[in-house]
Subunit: 195 residues, 2 copies
Amino acid sequence: MVGYPTKKTPQKNGPVQSTSKRGMSLEDDLNKTNAYYLELDRANVHKKPTPIMIATVSYPSRSQAKITEAYFKVPSTTDYNGVYRCKAVDYEAKETQSKTSFALAYLHEHQIAHMRSVLRHGALTFMIIRFTSLDETYFVPADRLLAFIDTTTRRSIPILWIRENGMRIPWRLTPPIDYLTCVDAYYFKGEMLND
Amino acid sequence: MVGYPTKKTPQKNGPVQSTSKRGMSLEDDLNKTNAYYLELDRANVHKKPTPIMIATVSYPSRSQAKITEAYFKVPSTTDYNGVYRCKAVDYEAKETQSKTSFALAYLHEHQIAHMRSVLRHGALTFMIIRFTSLDETYFVPADRLLAFIDTTTRRSIPILWIRENGMRIPWRLTPPIDYLTCVDAYYFKGEMLND
């Protein structure tokens, strides 16, 4: 179900989260999109579970294990991966409230290293960046993103660069973020699907 | 560090766990193997984090979040995935203490469905099965495994079938389980690496 537009007080200086008029986070939209792709048998892509370090587990009953102490770990890879047209798909998705740029601080150093690695091994690697205040979502190929990072001293990527080097993903009802259209256009150059 | 052989009392009827003379679980061996592949830039494969449903999080300090109530979720995909020679890699690894067969009950229904799906999309899909009591580890291609499941009423796979249809992975020091050799032989039919 797509949330019906409701009045919300936008958080101006809060943590990065969706203030989209639709009220759905990028993660929700991507989960719906991937579920849609799976149902149509177009691709098999999943969000990786959040990595957690478990400290204590108790067993209140024989059949159930209850974790009573655990901590979040910093992810060492990107959040989403799977398979599409025989290729490995690997991407990271981030939201920002900025209207002018995407701060590189949102990307961990080892996530960048991971993107370099999977790109080298031939995965379809990219980022999905949403500017929540503008309600604009972009597909940014990793080869261009990494080239930008390697040749700049900037701490953020200007939205103008993203508009020039990425592709805007129009919001749709089903699927909300049809990023495979961008994958087809960028990596397969409009080749016909042969399956 | 590989554990030095030590005297251990093998658990005869306990839960599925390694009784390998080396004292290392299949998961440990695979983590070492994947770390080795990553270091040599041969492949990028990771174990997915265990899926957990978080119920309560407390904030003992501003910088730290502590999970105080959470539960294990049943995984909906296989445990390991990544990229190798441009292709998506997707596999499940299981240990059994049986000396004669692998019980299909160890595989969840949706893990089987997941294997079918990624196989259809062209991923290199397989299982790694270790018979801990025999200290034998096998690579079993998913196409053969699924064909077996589809044509049998058995609840387990006899080890004889696995020996005929899979490939034994010899244990080595580095990497402990060199499964990519099997992947090369089965999926690339000895094609030369062109990178």
